[in-house]
Symmetry: C2
Subunit: 544 residues, 2 copies
Amino acid sequence: MKIFTAQINPTVGDLNGNVRKILDALERAKHTGSDIVLFPELTLSGYPPEDLLLDSSFIDAIEIKLEEIRLATKDLVVVLGLPRWNPRKKEKFLLNSAAIFKNRELVGFKDKTLLPTYDVFDERRYFEPGSEQFIFEHLGWRIAVTICEDLWQHSGLVDYTYYEKDPVLELKDKRPDLLLNLSSSPYYFEKKHVRLAVFSAAAKTLRCPLVFCNQVGANDQLVFDGHSFYLNEKGELIQIAKGFVEEDLIVEIDTHACPCGFLENGIRDLYSALVLGVKDYFQKQNFSHALIGLSGGIDSALVACIAKDALGAEHISAIALPSRFSSEASYLDAALLAKNLGIELKKIEIDAIFQSYLDLLKPYFGETPFDITEENLQARIRGMILMAFSNKKGSLLLNTSNKSELAMGYSTLYGDLCGALAVISDVTKLQIYELCHFLNRKTPIIPESILCKAPSAELRLNQTDQDTLPAYELLDPILEDYIERRLSLETIAEKRNISLEMVSRLIQQLHRAEYKRRQAPVGIRVTPKAFTKGRNVPIVQKWR
Amino acid sequence: MKIFTAQINPTVGDLNGNVRKILDALERAKHTGSDIVLFPELTLSGYPPEDLLLDSSFIDAIEIKLEEIRLATKDLVVVLGLPRWNPRKKEKFLLNSAAIFKNRELVGFKDKTLLPTYDVFDERRYFEPGSEQFIFEHLGWRIAVTICEDLWQHSGLVDYTYYEKDPVLELKDKRPDLLLNLSSSPYYFEKKHVRLAVFSAAAKTLRCPLVFCNQVGANDQLVFDGHSFYLNEKGELIQIAKGFVEEDLIVEIDTHACPCGFLENGIRDLYSALVLGVKDYFQKQNFSHALIGLSGGIDSALVACIAKDALGAEHISAIALPSRFSSEASYLDAALLAKNLGIELKKIEIDAIFQSYLDLLKPYFGETPFDITEENLQARIRGMILMAFSNKKGSLLLNTSNKSELAMGYSTLYGDLCGALAVISDVTKLQIYELCHFLNRKTPIIPESILCKAPSAELRLNQTDQDTLPAYELLDPILEDYIERRLSLETIAEKRNISLEMVSRLIQQLHRAEYKRRQAPVGIRVTPKAFTKGRNVPIVQKWR
């Protein structure tokens, strides 16, 4: 039994493009003599289609495209994900389904049983759960089809939720010989391990091999890492596709195949996820050129590296925008980085404009002390100049805010929060250092001085981040405890050996900055809990 | 049977404040000799609590507060909404419940059966549906308790969804003598009629009187209008509480009571909703002072009126920010409006700063023609100056973008899209005219010249909105057809008697501006489909 696992990169809503990718994969599969072609979840619509699903003409158009695909399944079994009308009159009008074709005949539909409705997932908003487990026969094999979450409950590793149904147990009596899973399982840091544990549990319980096909590519906030794989009936990994690229994983089911390991490098994967997030955000919208404000600090340095790897050095413009508070060293750092990356760097002094704002406002502000107002003015002048270049040149501004500062509101709305895409908004400051050291592992792309100096916004004299914030070594783990692990303030205080009062103060500051994050650009999600989609916290609230 | 309907205004997450309001209402109820006190849905947490529900210490704290309330129910029956732990191990760990107390004893819990998961509602994200209908006895009456959506399915008026269960039919066999409903039913334009039709159907089917208690007040985007009411067993309206204010509606159930009408004025209600939206956004965050950029146009004029009615003239600062393209007439209009409202108006010319940006950018932009870049620069200078005042004075900037321009992307990110709260972001341009005429119905508060002149952003010479956009008389109905009514492009073209090509072009323009709306301030929702919460459309998509 030969399975062609088509780890493709669909674009949400791009029916023509997605059909083309599907038909191309079928062609390639035929050339390899494969028996079954397996696609990711919701291949036809792309995942997540969100409220496009509420447009009935979208669902109707998908139905028509499905017919086009059926005709191309001669001599093949094809298992393909799509949203479809629910034939029964139920709470929701749609099903998240897999269509199974065999030599141009529809064998049937498998409807997703477990519908994740937590974190970034909102499948109950659109879909009715399927109730039956689906098995079809091919070449004497009994083949079970499942969709993503269907296999997760069994492992006990799903957070937020406890489904009453367990499709794995329901399949047990049906004794499948092979288990297929269509997924659109988004990346987060080191999720590969979690996925292997989850799917291994299903393979072991059913004592049958499992082939998992995951979507690859980025759509808005979500990055899908691919890493499709084949496990044997003992749940051991036999083959795994590359991450972050399209790949045809051709699986020959063989009970004697030797288990393989896989090279794990969490930081490398994280970097690849960020690069793919940028690349697809641009490509899927037909943009090619990015603009970055290069301060000489570590955040914009990292974003410049990511952008270069995503779009090519010739498609990146960088601008340094020093003010009276910027050190010459910062500019030299930015210039050296730009040289190392081979990207263009302009230098535009903002001090004259800053002074003209101060003069304009003097009659109103009088002798009030220099405060956040004047700091923000500088950040906003930079934002304005960058946006002027973005408008004039048709390039997209990349935002360089990191998760630690977004958490604390240590950023200026309409200033350094400008941009089309927040590249590292889900990366903490400590991880940013790790990523930079990873990039510098062979040759020092990012100048050492950028990595060594104390982080500073350079918006007032001799400012450093730690004038206002605790050390990132202290702050970042607290943020992870609260945001990702949802620990209580008491538990955090105990675990991190600091006062409850200090934890409370930081968490209160985090919640007070909610209004800023609500206006931040969409960001690439790389942890189990990012600030954009998946975290719905009221702005007006008095709990924290 | 005397029912004290406590139409109160809780704040999300404010457990102490909400308990105080509840205990105060119990005191007032005792003074009136009431038998039953009825509160809105999720009274204790405030609605919608969103992801605060995922903080287990929040649910634990609510459990403790409930005990405090139980002790205060001497000689009363109290029906109160709250989230609580699901005692059964089910998909979701929480229930959206009503606790029923009788003279300090817990009679039981009624768990919401139908959980709306569409539009602004995401209850399946948090809650498990209740399965049983609840009846308790008091003074010989059989009293059924239902929560909001529970009564909607029966009417057939729920969009997006078709529940298999119908709690009204399930209650029919139980023959209740009285039906209570706890709601947090958000306002939209003329929703009162829909609600009366929905609840009337339930009362008629069960042939029993119905008392409906709705939350009042605004939390983030949502405004709850109150308008709690009492219907007789024929489904006729007997009593209705005021909208947009807290009120104790004291209902004496009486089969001989005469039906009443109610004064309907959709535009007046819409205005009240916007005022309450601003008022609560400020009060619930302990802000008192608002800042507005007054252009002399109709949008900012309306927002100034709303702000004055919400916060008082002495708490509003307005700034006119003319450029070389602003007419003197616009400033005079702004000045007259400010005088009429009794609000302070400053005038700050932005032309010198605009020129300094042009000079700064000249070496880079050369002789490229004046385009959107230079238009945006002016809007952003205004945004920056307003934000400087906001920062220096601790006031919140009100955003004045309307729904028509937000739809079309006819607005500048980080420019006129700045602000803490988008007051009229869910109001179309045509409705803005209606609201202004409503305000001017007795005396001309808004100068006639503001209402008469052609709308213009005044960002280039002799510009009007209609240089770029179709007439609002044409555009607004198309937007409503597409956004609120979800009609197909073909249907819209036919209905509005325009070419399909033109509809397609407008809808494409609408989707292309998604990235701007994603960074717009949170806006007050006053239609069945606003751009903020409740409409999840991907930025990167190729369907439209």
